[in-house]
Amino acid sequence: MFLYDFTQLTSSIHSSLVESFGEGALTTTIELAIAGVAYLIFFAVLGLFLVYLERKVCAFIQNRLGPMRVGPWGLLQTIADFIKLLMKELIYIKSADQFLFNVAPFIVITASFLAIGAIPFDKGLQVLDFDIGVFYVAAVSSLGVLGVLLAGWASNNKYSLIGAMRSGAQIVSYELSVGLSLMTIIVLAGTMQFSELVAGQADLWFIFKGHIPAMIAFVIFLIAGTAETNRGPFDLAEAESELTAGFHTEYSGIKFALFFLAEYINMFIVASIATTVFLGGWMPLHIPGLDGFNHVMDFIPPVLWFFMKAFTVVFIMMWFKWTFPRLRIDQLLTLEWKYLLPLNLINIVIMTIVVLLGWHL
C-alpha cells in the first residue's frame, strides 16, 4: 500500500491532455514542457538552498551564526548573491581559447541535468527510468569532468591547468570506487533499474539486507562520492590556499556561479544515489515483524522520506568538509589505488558468497 502515489497525478494529467489534444507529438511536447519547467525550478531552488545550507552548517560547526541579515535567518542571502552574480560583467581573457572557455559551463551543467533526471523522488516521480539506470548515472556524471578539464585548459592560466589536471586524476580514480561499490549492491539486487532497486527495498533497505559487505560498500561510496564531486577534504582541484580557485580562477559573474551550482547539485546527486541504492529511496523505514511500526511509517509521505534521507547524506558530506583537512594529491591517489580499490574487489567477492549462500536477509 502506498499513500500519496504520484502515478495517479501524472496519469490524470496525461489523460486530460490526450482528451484535449489527442495521442501524438503535441501531447508529448506539452508533457515534456511541464516536466522541463518543473525540473528547471527544482534545479535552481535546490542549488540556492544547498548553498545556504552549506553556509549555515559550516557556521554552526565553527560556532558562528552564518548569514543572518538578508531575510529571516538569512534565508534570502543566496538569492541576493545570485542576483549580484547575474548583474556582474563577464570578463573574457585575451590569451584564453574563447570557444572552449565558453563551452565548459554548458558541459558541466548539462551533465548534472542528465544525471538528476534519472533520480526517483517518488513512485512515478521520475523522468528517465532506464533498465541500466545505475550505469547511466555513472556514465553521465563522469561527463562533468570533461567540462572541468576544458575549463582549466582553455583558461591558459597555470593555476587553472594544475587544478584541472588534479581534478582529472582524482575524478577518474574515484570513478572506479563509485562504480564498484554500486556493483556490490547490484549483485545483491540483481537489477540496475532504479525503480526496481527501490521496489526491492520495500521490506528492508539494502544496507541492512546485505549485512557487512553492504555497509562497507556504503562507506566506500560516501568517500568516493565526496571525492567525485570535488568537495573537501578532496577539493584539490580548487584548493583556494594554493591555487586561488583552481580550474575556475578565470571565470567571473554568472559563469562562475554555474560551476558553483553544478558542484552543489552534484553533491545532491551523489546523496540521492546513496539514498536510492543503499537507503531504500522513497521507501519508508520498515522493520520485518513490527507491523504496527511499519504502518505508522507508511503515513509519512515517500517524497519526505526521500528528501530526509538525501539531506542527511548531504549533511554528512558537509560535515566531512568542515572537519577534515585537505589531502595531498599523493595521499589522495594512495587512498584510492592501494586501499579502496583492493578492498572494493574483495568486498564484491564477499557479497557474492553472501548472496550465493543465502545469508542476506
Binding site: L180, G190, W337, K338, V349
Partner: protein
C-alpha cells in the same frame, strides 16, 4: 519517454546556461582597461603560455583508470545476472579477479602507483 527525456534534459542544461550567459552579456555595464583581460596570477604578469608539458604522473593514472574502467564494464552485466547463474558465475569472477589483482600487484611493484 526515455529518449524524449534525454533530449529534454540536454536542452534544459543548454537553455539554463545559455539564458544566463546571454542575460549577463546584455544587461551589465561593460568597462575596459589595459590589464582587465590579462591572465590572473595574483598581481604579477604571467610568464609565457600555460599550454605546456606537465607532470607525466597524471597520464599514468589515466591509463590505469582505462584498464580498470573497461573491467568495470565487463562486471556490470555479470553483476545483474549473477543470482540466476549461481556458482559458475562466482568461480568465473574469482578467476577474473585473480588475474586483475595480479595486474594491480604488478603495477604496485613497478611503482606505477607511487606519485612523483
Amino acid at each position: 519517454m526515455n529518449t524524449e527525456g534525454l533530449i529534454l534534459f540536454f536542452l534544459l542544461g543548454v537553455t539554463l546556461v545559455g539564458l544566463a550567459v546571454i542575460f549577463s552579456g546584455l544587461i551589465p555595464q561593460k568597462t575596459t582597461n589595459l590589464q582587465k583581460h590579462d591572465t590572473y596570477e595574483c598581481g604579477i604578469p604571467t610568464q609565457g603560455s600555460s599550454w605546456i608539458q606537465f607532470n607525466v604522473g597524471y597520464y599514468l593514472f589515466a591509463i590505469m583508470f582505462l584498464i580498470f574502467d573497461v573491467e568495470a564494464i565487463f562486471l556490470f552485466p555479470w553483476a545483474v545476472v549473477m543470482k540466476e547463474i549461481g556458482m559458475v558465475a562466482f568461480i568465473e569472477i574469482l578467476i577474473f579477479f585473480v588475474i586483475l589483482g595480479l595486474g594491480l600487484l604488478y603495477a604496485w611493484k613497478k611503482q606505477a602507483l607511487k606519485w612523483e
